[in-house]
């Protein structure tokens, strides 16, 4: 005797039938940046280990992060972190039951995107100020 299978039910429409909207794109970006940061954190832990290990190892890590490719990764990392953090703040606001009306939801999405770019550039300007 085989197990009774549930009746085939209609599936809800998936992504491809919707016209892309900003809020939808921001939701997808929140997940993508989160996943990217998940793997990017290896670099942070590697750096901590390098600092704790020896001058040679530290110089190796510094060489990597100072190379244009390392800087590019760090710039992307910065943007992903800020984008995900601002997205997280939006989610925490929603968790209180606020901010669901169409106007608020739209400007929060725009603020998230604009804020992530502005803060990333600002942070790197400060960083270059510190080094110089």
């Amino acid at each position: 005797m085989t197990e009774t299978k549930p009746a085939a039910r209609p599936l809800s429409p998936h992504l491809q039938i919707y016209r892309p909207m900003l809020t939808m794109m921001m939701s997808i970006m929140h997940r993508i940046t989160g996943a990217a940061l998940y793997f990017g954190v290896i670099l942070l832990v590697w750096w901590l280990l390098a600092v704790a290990s020896s001058d040679n190892y530290f110089d190796l890590a510094r060489g990597f992060f100072g190379h244009w490719f390392g800087l590019l990764i760090l710039f992307g990392f910065t943007w992903a972190l800020i984008h995900h953090a601002l997205g997280g703040i939006r989610h925490l606001i929603w968790d209180t039951g606020r901010g669901f009306d169409p106007v608020t939801i739209e400007w929060m999405a725009r603020a998230n995107l604009a804020g992530s770019i502005i803060l990333t550039v600002l942070l790197w300007v400060i960083a270059y100020g510190v080094v110089a």
């Binding site: 005797m1 997940r31 954190v41 942070l44 600092v51 704790a52």
Partner: protein
């Protein structure tokens, strides 16, 4: 062998009694990540171009070491919860899902141990 439907089997059992706790934990850890990541960014900014000895000297301060450790734990815990949500959303095969969930735990715990080891080594030793 049973002729009961999957729905019929679970009806009347009630919830697993841990859903709200899991939901709250996700939020609390996410909230903790905001100030701790801010600390981490400031810590890195303050040590850009610094010599290794100077960074180690900073971490010898127990408050700095504690905040660093808390940051890494909060980040990795948040990562573990977040990746679990992603896996549960997209991976439906039971074996693949379990494998990935175990790998997720292993990955975050190993990174956590490595980070704490580095922080303690700087804090106590070289």
């Amino acid at each position: 062998m049973t002729m009961r439907t999957p729905l019929g089997k679970v009806r009347g059992l009630g919830s697993a009694k841990s859903g709200a706790e899991h939901w709250l934990l996700e939020r609390v850890i996410a909230l903790a990540n905001l100030p701790l990541n801010l600390f981490l960014v400031i810590f890195i900014l303050m040590h850009l171009g610094a010599a290794r000895a100077d960074i180690v000297e900073s971490v010898r301060n127990p408050v700095v070491a504690g905040l660093l450790a808390m940051s890494l734990i909060a980040i990795l815990w948040h990562m573990k919860l977040g990746m679990r949500a992603i896996i549960e959303d997209y991976v439906h095969g039971e074996a693949a899902k379990l494998t990935l969930l175990v790998l997720n735990s292993a990955y975050t715990v190993i990174l956590g141990i490595a980070a704490i080891f580095a922080i303690l080594k700087m804090s106590f030793g070289s």
